[in-house]
Amino acid sequence: MLEPVNVSLESLNLVTLAPMLIAIVGALTILVVDLVKSGLNKTMYVMLSMLFLLLDFGSLVDFAGFFAQNGTILGFFDVMLIDGLAILAQFIIVVGAMMFLPLSLTSKRFHEYSYPEYYALFLFTIAGLQFMVSTDNLILIFVGLETSSLAIYTLIAMHNRSKSFEAAVKYFTMGALAAGFYSFGAMVLYALSGSVEINQIAAVLSADGYSNIGYVLVGVAFLLASFGFKLSLVPFHTWAPDVYEGSSAAMAGFISIVPKIASFVVAMRLFEFLVQSGVVWLEVTLYVFVVVTMTASNIWALVQNDVKRMLAYSSISHAGFVMAALIIGTTQANSALFLYWAMFSFTNLGAFAMLWVNREKSLKYGQNSDHQFERFSGMVHTMPLAAVMMGLFMLSLAGIPPFGIFWGKLYMLGAAVSGGYTVLALIMALNSAIAAFYYLKLIVFMFLKEPDEQAHEKYMTNASLSLKTIIGAAAVMTVFSVFAVNPLLEFITSFVYNSGY
């Protein structure tokens, strides 16, 4: 006989769902509006979505204040877990979404933006990701993950080019496989511990003294494979370049930042307690993953002919770099992860937005991809300001001080050094040097080469005021990041520390 359900509404603490609900309601509202009156202009949908994201953001600010005072909040059958990590990650997710959404206000018409469903799916993605980070329940993580992923597959496909369909199919199929890995891994852990709550699994395992270490490792291996896919660790990274190439630059930039931070948070929740409890295998494996991911993707990025594809590999490399935080596992490292990603968001936003404004409607004859390096030849002569901006973003990506990513890199290296991972720090540092080469390659094309006279390329054909504003904001953030670092760092550190990481 089942016990009668007896749950008090207060203990449910439904307010913990507020941020995600706002996004979901926003998505539904858009759909409803479309039902009532179809054929509305995309600007309306963009701004509507922006409003909901702003509300979402507002609720997060509220949570942040609450967390700062009272600490972690549980809710909804203790499934929701609003701790510092959740709030930080949601900030990055929502702010990232708000920065990328206006990129749909292009001056050229693109198929997908005229559909309201696009915006609804976009908001669903955000909601899914928010769920993912604010729980330690494996089921909810799975649901959040799949919600966001399925929406993203569709968003990519909506770009309506043969390459984007190919990208979507590839992403989708591999995603399905990763989902299989995830569920199998979760199943193994559930079998071992009888729970799907990460903290309970941890408690059971350590009470048990990790006697079934072999099975634990099998479960962790499956989960690692699954998140390896999401975080694009080599060799689970193969989707990334193709998906970046196949989707629009705006979408690619979004994929490079927002879903990844969610996966990082889950990975932190999942793996760090294992690393901390002395599962050497995981530490070694992660170490190998970090080093291989950074190095291999850097090496592959060297040989790319397309800027967007190069940036795809670069994103993989950055993800690998940040993964180091999971091995180091100190508060400093985990804070560095968020700092790095916040800085990376702005720079990468700028870089992809720059690609986006240079996008032609269709490929010219003889072109294999949209953003070949040759297109940028001598850009400084024709569009000096744009070239300078792009140069800034590339320098920041390369980790040249005082631009944004440098500070993240500095802090992460500092964490590695303080954590005793000297060799890792050196490998990370030297990888930055390799990476500098391909970022420089674009700078070389833009600044050092003469423009190709025959091409008569037009830059910035896709630019509009909102795109320019976004790029300007990204550039300002990138250049003056040094002033933002301290408040950010203090904020992040206190949140991470108070969440017990």
């Binding site: 400084v380 002569h381 320098l395 390369a398 040249i400 001080p401 005082p402 440098f406 500070w407 500095l410 802090y411 290296l413 500092g414 050094v417 303080s418 000297t422 720090a425 050196l426 540092a429 030297l430 930055s432 040097a433 500098a436 080469f437 420089l440 700078i443 070389v444 600044f447 050092l448 080469k449 040094v482 670092v485 301290n486 760092l489 203090e490 550190t493």
Partner: protein
């Protein structure tokens, strides 16, 4: 004004460069010259206001930048950095003033102004991270200058320059983070302030590792053998102005950093690595001098000669006594003046003939007598003739190192022989003999614009050779305090013995000052 003069010196050119985007192309040179002149005047004012009797930092500025990680915007100059700052301002001025007409003049001038910011920043920074920021940032304008206005291999050269130095400095960055970590361990707070670090006494084995990490960054920048190969490419491909700034100022960053970081932070490691580094320095001196002798391109001769001279600077630095370090710091300035001038001179002929191959020339002394005279003066300064600026530095550097090792100094002293060989051979090939190439028959002598740059350099080269005291005095005071610091910090017996104790000397000097 005086409280913030360093900030003004650093950011004035950068701001001016930003405003410069608005200035019309035909007026940009005047704008650039004016800005650089103001900057130079400011730097002279800095020199004027600098109290030479004080050995410590002056005009300090402090502003917490990232207090959570101990990074602050900390500036200051002492006798060691003061003159390089003045030199940087000076070279930017004459560099812009003597700029030949070229394509995209505006970009060049604005880039130079940005470069000036980074150069002055490096030498004024007292916080390791701020130092690192300017250190790395200086690569960017230089990359552009070499890459956009350079010769046929310019892209290869500029990218190589960038990546090589970048790689080295990343290792250095890890070293800096380590240093901060140890500071954190010792005191419980984060700090990247060099002055704070000075107070930290590290065990020897840690010193050794950190020394190596810093060394890699500095050695590539200097560049020391065997990390020097980017330099000939960079110089060979760079436009005149690029080579001038690179040789005169940018290379000094490495040697300056040795004095600022390696010596006072790691006195025991400095003693430990003294001999290996001296061996490298001697290889640099002799080997690159021989390579310079084999060159066919006059600019490459000067480029390799730079490496050779940097060897003497390194040697003087690692003499670890006042004479040697003062000499090496002085030689930094001297080499800046002389190699800068030589690159300018090569630029003069390149602009006329668009070739730098020595075989294309010959007998120029009769065609361009003024040019030959100035070139001759600089060649003599380069080979270290007494009463020229280089001699003071080389003499003191070698003299200093002689205390540490007789044989090494004897070998290093070969510098004065091999230096004469390649320089005189090159001078002979270009200027002496009959005019064989018809194209050289009617070359115009140096014009006013070029003289504006060259005459001051000649004057400096001789003035400071005859009367180095205004520069050597402040340098000496600051170096004395560094050497004393090293002596006090040294852990091992050997280091204590190798680094002289100046307590008595300093007391005497203070007494002297008081009686004055």
């Amino acid at each position: 004004m005086l409280d913030n003069i360093l900030s003004i010196l650093i950011f004035f050119p950068a701001l001016a460069a930003m405003f410069g985007f608005v200035v019309a192309k035909d007026s940009i040179r005047a704008y650039g010259v004016t800005v650089a002149a103001i900057e130079f005047a400011l730097s002279l004012f800095l020199w004027y206001a600098y109290d030479p009797a004080v050995s410590g930092m002056q005009f300090m500025e402090s502003l917490p930048l990232i207090p959570a990680f101990g990074i602050s915007y900390l500036l200051g100059v002492d006798g060691i950095s003061l003159f390089i700052i003045v030199l940087a301002a000076f070279f930017t001025l004459i560099g812009i003033a003597s700029l030949p007409d070229m394509k995209r003049m505006k970009d060049m001038i604005l880039t130079l102004l940005f470069l000036q910011m980074t150069m002055i920043g490096v030498f004024a920074a007292l916080d390791a991270i701020v130092f690192y920021v300017f250190w790395e940032l200086s690569l960017v304008p230089m990359l552009y200058i070499i890459g956009a206005w350079g010769g046929p291999l310019r892209i290869y050269a500029s990218v190589k320059f960038f990546l090589y130095t970048f790689t080295g400095s990343l290792v250095m960055l890890v070293g800096m983070l380590f240093m901060a970590y140890f500071y954190h361990q010792a005191t419980g707070t984060w700090s990247f302030s060099i002055l704070e670090w000075y107070r930290l006494i590290l065990p020897e084995n840690i010193q050794l590792w950190l020394f190596v990490a810093f060394f890699l960054g500095f050695a590539i920048k200097v560049p020391m053998f065997p990390f020097h190969t980017w330099l000939p490419y960079a110089h060979g491909q760079a436009p005149t102005i690029g080579s001038v700034i690179l040789a005169a100022i940018l290379l000094k960053m490495g040697t300056y950093a040795f004095v600022r970081f390696s010596l006072p932070l790691f006195p025991d490691a400095s003693v430990f690595f003294m001999m290996p580094i001296a061996v490298l320095a001697i290889i640099m001196i002799i080997y690159t001098a021989m390579v310079a002798y084999a060159q066919e391109d006059i600019k490459q001769v000067v480029a390799y000669s730079s490496v050779s001279h940097m060897g003497v600077i390194i040697l003087g630095t690692f003499a670890l006594n006042v004479e040697g370090i003062s000499g090496s710091v002085f030689l930094m300035i001297a080499h800046g003046v002389v190699s800068g001038a030589l690159f300018l001179l090569v630029g003069v002929i390149y602009e006329r003939r668009h070739t730098k191959m020595m075989s294309e020339f010959g007998g120029l002394a009769s065609v361009m007598p003024h040019y030959a005279t100035i070139f001759g003066v600089m060649v003599m300064a380069s080979v270290g003739l007494p009463l020229t600026i280089n001699f003071v530095g080389e003499f003191l550097s070698l003299l200093g190192f002689y205390q540490q090792s007789h044989m090494m100094t004897l070998l290093a002293g070969i510098a004065i022989i091999v230096g004469a060989i390649y320089m005189l051979a090159a001078f002979k090939k270009v200027f002496f003999g009959e005019v064989t190439n018809e194209k050289n028959r009617n070359l115009p002598d140096v014009n006013k614009r070029e003289l504006v740059a060259l005459i001051p350099l000649v004057i400096i080269a001789i003035w400071l050779g005859v009367y180095p005291k205004p520069v050597l005095g402040p340098i000496n005071n600051s170096v004395e305090s560094i050497v004393q610091l090293m002596h006090e910090k040294a852990v091992t017996e050997e280091a204590k013995a190798r680094i002289p104790d100046l307590t008595s000397t300093i007391v005497i000097n203070e007494a002297k000052e008081e009686t004055k």
